[in-house]
């Protein structure tokens, strides 16, 4: 009981292992944070209770996204102001890029992420 699947649009068939990334109560609604899972820096975002996980690298020049700004569901990378919709992972400006999504789910108050 209590398992709430939260899966990103892509990567459903990705292999890899699930790992506990963070307690959900450490990730407030409207906030984002970076955690290291295995060897991967993972960006976790919470938009109105919906949790998403992405590789913490801007697809532009791999700058760390957690140094950017989250406003509603729009994430802006601080380096060159590329904007992304963090619910879908799609680029807003430019609109032909996307964040690298990681499978993610919330279970018993913990955010689990699949990497590898």
């Amino acid at each position: 009981m209590g398992a709430v699947p939260e899966t990103t649009a892509e990567g459903a068939d990705r292999v890899g292992s699930w790992a506990r990334a963070l307690d959900l109560d450490e990730l407030w609604e409207g906030e984002m944070t970076a955690v290291t899972v295995g060897a991967t820096s993972v960006l976790l975002v919470n938009v109105d209770g919906q949790v998403r996980a992405y590789v913490n690298r801007c697809p532009h020049q791999e700058w760390a996204l957690d140094e950017g700004d989250l406003d509603g569901r729009t994430l802006t990378c601080s380096r060159h102001l590329w904007e992304f919709d963090v619910l879908s992972g799609e680029g807003i400006n430019p609109d032909n890029c996307r964040l690298t999504g990681l499978d993610c789910r919330v279970e018993d108050g913990a955010v689990l992420v699949r990497t590898g």
Binding site: G68, D71, R79, N96
Partner: protein, 410 residues
């Protein structure tokens, strides 16, 4: 009924943004992009920045992949210059003799590097295109030294990229400081110190008297010394590509004159990007902006207005520069400011400078503090009134100042 046709001249960043906007906004007529480079529109900013490994490859820089144009019914005519424009009959003539009728036209021809008169040679470089970048990189693959003539953003970025890849580099700038056209003397000094600390020789206040290529060497004589180098980059600005408009009624003055709607003096003809000299309502004067983001935003407004909208282009302008591992960003214009407020620690690295006119924020400059610009840009665009003490206080979240603008009178 005859299909409408919109032609975009100049296959750069602005044309790509306009094409995407026109299709997104539902334009279903013919859409043609004409450019003289052999490539689909690509991003130029990376050409002067971080040289990691191989020479730049245009495929990595494309704004849209090649298939996008087919999928969106955008006819892309590359490697072909537009040579004549007849505004009365609404016809564009291409270098191969082809004639293209249009209903509306976007001039997005950009600019080309200014050259030193009478100076020629295969070791004298300019940087605008991916081909320019490849040629420069190839010549420096062996070793330098490289002399960069011009200490503006382009020159400084190339100097940093070349130096970081091991090349011996000298910057020669006529003005007393680097980046003097757009930045304060203090910031110019900061960048000069940064470059020097990495081993770049920075010569400011030094005029160049002559440049001659002799065999494999370029000899640069300044008012103070003689420099010899394997390659010279001339980075002294661009002139705007308006040759097409000679003899046409399209008004030009070092750029295509456009109003705040990106419209030229001729009905149906618009201009955007580096080539445009636009009346800017925010600054109450004509401005020319040579930055990537401006090309995208201005062309987006132009495209919407070509379809009948009356959008005003009053973006406060944002740009960035990457040099070594540092990132500089600026939004707005400090002109007319009467107060500057610093956030962060200029002595230790990251800091931002906020410029205020009265209690209104007019520009933000951030050195390794891009996050301040993310919110600062919204504050500037909104014409926000802010308290200097709060900008100064690193504990105050700038987003809070933005939220405060929402409701009551400002």
């Amino acid at each position: 009924m005859r299909r409408e046709r919109i032609v975009l001249v100049g296959a750069g960043r602005a044309a790509a943004a306009a094409a995407a906007t026109l299709r997104r906004e539902g334009f279903d007529g013919d859409l043609v992009v004409v450019g003289d480079e052999p490539h689909p529109p690509y991003r130029r900013p990376p050409l002067s920045k971080a040289w990691d490994g191989a020479a730049p490859c245009v495929d990595d820089l494309l704004v849209r992949d090649a298939e996008w144009y087919g999928t969106n019914a955008v006819e892309l005519i590359t490697g072909t210059r537009a040579v004549a424009l007849d505004c009365a009959s609404r016809q564009l003539t291409l270098a191969d003799g082809a004639r293209l009728g249009y209903d509306r036209l976007l001039l997005a021809t950009g600019g080309r590097p200014r050259r030193l008169p009478g100076v020629r040679g295969d070791r004298i470089h300019h940087l605008r295109t991916v081909a320019d970048a490849a040629a420069l990189r190839e010549q420096l693959a062996g070793d330098g030294p490289l002399v960069v003539l011009g200490g503006g953003f382009l020159g400084c970025e190339v100097a940093a990229a070349a130096r970081a890849s091991g090349v011996e580099v000298t910057i020669v700038e006529m003005a007393p400081t680097l980046l003097s056209r757009a930045m304060s003397p203090e910031l110019g000094e900061l960048f000069a110190a940064l470059h020097r600390s990495r081993g770049v020789t920075v010569l400011t206040g030094e005029r160049v008297d002559s440049v001659v290529q002799a065999g494999d060497q370029v000899v640069v004589r300044t008012c103070a010394q003689v420099l010899e180098c394997a390659a010279l980059l001339v980075a002294i600005g661009i002139s705007r590509s308006t040759e097409l408009l000679a003899g046409t009624p399209v008004a030009c003055d070092d750029g295509v004159l456009v109003d705040e709607f990106a419209a030229t003096s001729v009905p149906g003809v618009y201009a955007a990007g580096d080539v445009a000299a636009a009346h800017h309502p925010r600054y109450g004067r004509r401005v020319r902006v040579e930055h990537d983001d401006n090309a995208v935003r201005q062309a987006t407004v132009a495209a919407r207005n070509m379809l009948g909208a009356r959008d005003v282009y009053d973006d406060p302008h944002w740009f960035w520069s990457d040099q070594f591992e540092h990132n500089l960003q600026m939004v707005g214009s400090p002109e007319g400011h009467d107060r500057s407020v610093v956030r962060g620690s200029p002595g230790e690295g990251a800091f931002s400078v906020f410029h205020l006119r009265g209690d209104r924020l007019v520009s933000v400059l951030a050195f390794d503090r891009g996050r301040d610009v993310v919110t600062g840009r919204k504050l500037v665009a909104a014409g926000a009134t802010v308290a200097a003490e709060q900008l100064e206080d690193d504990a105050v979240d700038l987003r809070r100042l933005l939220r405060r603008q929402g409701g009551g009178p400002s």
